[in-house]
Symmetry: D2
Subunit: 271 residues, 4 copies
């Protein structure tokens, strides 16, 4: 890949992004939580549930980029304060999206990891800003983005001095309509040979179907993914967005059990 100086895979050691106790790029990290922060009870109940099931971090959106200006846009600062409370109660680090370069500095005071959503992958002003924020960045792949373009976006963050970029494959847009997007799982081994940065999989937004999340999560482990980011909601039927694709805590517990067993089997094989 041309144009890559810092993300290029020819560097030897792989990047390990440390977030509290989690090490993305070394173990297998699961980030779970609701699509958007709706209220305190929703976040706290979900946070405790995913913590108990073994999740490593809590996700939750305070700013939601929505197709329509008339759809729920997130709680903003109020949402971040709710996430902060969840971290205090559970100890889980927080992953939350930032959508505006003007918000980066103060959102970084609440979030342990700054997420850049698929629609903003090539928002270069935002990328440069999170490159200076002193927080790890979770960079989702744009739905129309080649691996090369994606890595060049990571390069925007790295070249500002921030070495902690976690790549996240969340499905690309194709003609297939049974799934919400098409999960390009082969991006996992491909990215491993192109860069030293860790990569995780989002089985929720890629498939958009609860029934496919379990199988594709296991497949992600087997393909060598460094982790997963999964939507879990304490009561999906009441969710303000993505109600049809959030796991219940019980479903999540079941998947976590299978993931951990598989991961420890594969680790034993390798050693």
């Amino acid at each position: 890949m041309k144009n890559l100086k810092l993300a290029s895979g020819e560097k030897g050691d792989r990047t390990i992004v440390k977030v509290s106790n989690a090490e993305i790029g070394r173990g297998f990290v699961v980030i779970a939580g609701p699509c958007s922060v709706e209220n305190e009870r929703q976040v706290l109940e979900t946070a405790h549930a995913v913590k108990d099931a073994g999740a490593d971090m809590l996700r939750g959106g305070a700013f939601k980029p929505r197709t329509s200006p008339y759809a729920f846009q997130g709680l903003g600062l109020r949402g971040l304060k709710i996430l902060e409370k969840a971290r205090q109660e559970t100890g889980l680090p927080i992953v939350s999206e930032v959508v505006d370069p003007r918000d980066v500095s103060w959102v970084a005071e609440f979030a342990d990891v700054l997420q850049i959503g698929a629609r903003n992958m090539q928002n270069f002003s935002l990328l440069k800003e999170v490159g200076r924020a002193g927080r790890p960045v979770l960079l989702k792949r744009g739905m129309h983005s080649t691996l090369e373009e994606w890595l060049n976006c990571a390069e925007y963050v790295l070249s500002e001095g921030n070495p902690d970029v976690i790549l996240c494959e969340r499905g690309i847009r194709t003609f297939e309509k049974y799934t919400r997007n098409t999960l390009d799982l082969s991006a996992v081994p491909a990215i491993k040979e192109l860069t030293h940065l860790p990569i995780i999989i989002d089985p929720t937004h890629s498939t958009g179907r609860i029934s496919l999340i379990g199988p594709m999560s296991l497949a992600a482990v087997a393909a060598g993914s460094d982790g997963l980011i999964i939507e879990v909601h304490h009561k999906p039927e009441e969710a303000l967005c993505d109600a049809e694709q959030a796991l219940t805590p019980d479903m999540f517990i079941d998947i976590m059990g299978r993931l951990k067993a598989l991961k420890s089997f594969l680790d034993n094989q390798a050693s």
Copy 2:
């Protein structure tokens, strides 16, 4: 299309966006100029050339969103001042891209039309900001965007109180590699039935081939487009970006002659 209140086509009268003497949505408007502002001589020579050939507005990028952080990123304020000088000399209104919400207010003092590029189509913070800028907005279609998503982005601008949105089809990403993107010219009549907003075509970035710009420009006129935005460079072989797809002034003069003849034939037919 769901979610559209203001862009919806059911409103009766079509929007006419007035920019100096040009009326986008009524006549046929041609915007021409270099991809990026490189230096004063380049801009002034090109501006006079496109003015003489009959162009209605001058395009030129002072901020260039580039795939790689190491590629030329534009001259910024210095570039805008060069464009201002070109407007003073030629009288042509200026179309220039803005990529950061923090820049909107001051870029709006130089540019007559604020361009939102394809990569920023769903940069909602930026859309809201240009919705409050008091300047017409040229909204390019994302390379992965459906018509519905595109119109919802226009809705973000309109819902902030700015009625002057010009849509610009610039090619979508497909598997075909002979052309840089695939020009979806059927978007012209489709958009006409979905919204009252005007739509123009970018034959340069969609095809990426000089030899296709003439035929597709004529096709755009015949399909009912409200105008074109075309890259012209006084010396394409010296261009810092897109050298392979910019027209020379002579090529542009030739195409303009054919466009005007076709447009006036079609107008006579219709009347």
Copy 3:
């Protein structure tokens, strides 16, 4: 383009395919008629209507490749005999699809032009067979096909000794769902620089919307297409397939008037 010996554009003279009085590649040829042959009355009424409106050839499918095995598959030989009668009454040459290599020789006794549908573009056994059939071949582009692959399929026909291949762009499959497929009109000038073979446009299957057929037909003329193939049905509301996209004879008359005026304007310009 690699692999092309016979279709390559470097040969000088352009191919003119003669079918009765029509010359595809010289004038502008319009092929019109129903999607499928349903009964004698439907075909004869439609044939007379399109003849009166100025069409050059009659299209009609006796074999219909359908997504489901339970959908109407066409009348076969009975359909071809109906088409033969329509030719006798109107003098219009017949364009009809063949889907099985075993049928080529006898279908060629009824059809003046053998159509290869998009789904069969890479059915190489069928291509070789029509390459030996002594009839011009209308080769539709596969919905997933690059220009290079398409021309290689033409090469399969040419290399069997049949020089009379007419290419037909009928839309490619993309993520956009407002139109049935995405008409890649830039294929017209692209094909003109890659090969000496003529190319026509199918505005019906590409857009799948009656309201877009007129504008895209005019655009095809302006882009330099050698012709059009359009679905017309004497009573679209009774059609067994594609009812929602067939023009009525009145709509077709209107479009033909505008097409002819535009074509003759452009011819005058060029001379």
Copy 4:
């Protein structure tokens, strides 16, 4: 999914396709061998190698649908006789492609499973013919095909009375160019909920990169695939086609070891 009577998933018991000792749909079946049959030594050496490594069936193309008419098209009958000899020596059942409806009956005397390639997925004449051939059919997904269209093609085979269809996902065409195609692994659990037919994965043609075949094979097992079809060549550097993506016997042995271990771990988990 509309139009499906026989492939529909609502039938209760899953289909098990028996081929000699292999049961596709019950265990995990690996089909391996060269892209095309080139000569006896190549096939026999490769056949013994994959047999020793634990493969269940031998693949090898006697008819190769190639983009260009001037590329190697396969050995035809001579190739099938070589495959027959390999079966006699190794006991491995043969999977071989058929491309022409006229060849089905005699190819079926050599091949234990008739393969329909991606380009012929919607060659309905061919599908009907293999539906009457009394041999299991391996139906590859077209590179542009939705799950619904693919299952409708299976329906063409089933509706002729042949219940033994094995679906094979081999990658879809997208804009991504790092991989040859994009492997849609989520098709495995999706197909499992839409139909009772078994599904296998082709990691070779989907990724087109040797380095990705191992990880995606393991991922296929974890996602619930019923098997794999993999290209192995005794000397890939001498292969007449796909030289860059065929595994050596040593690579194949390594992958088989990991696949079997993973499969038996997952089976133990489930029981």
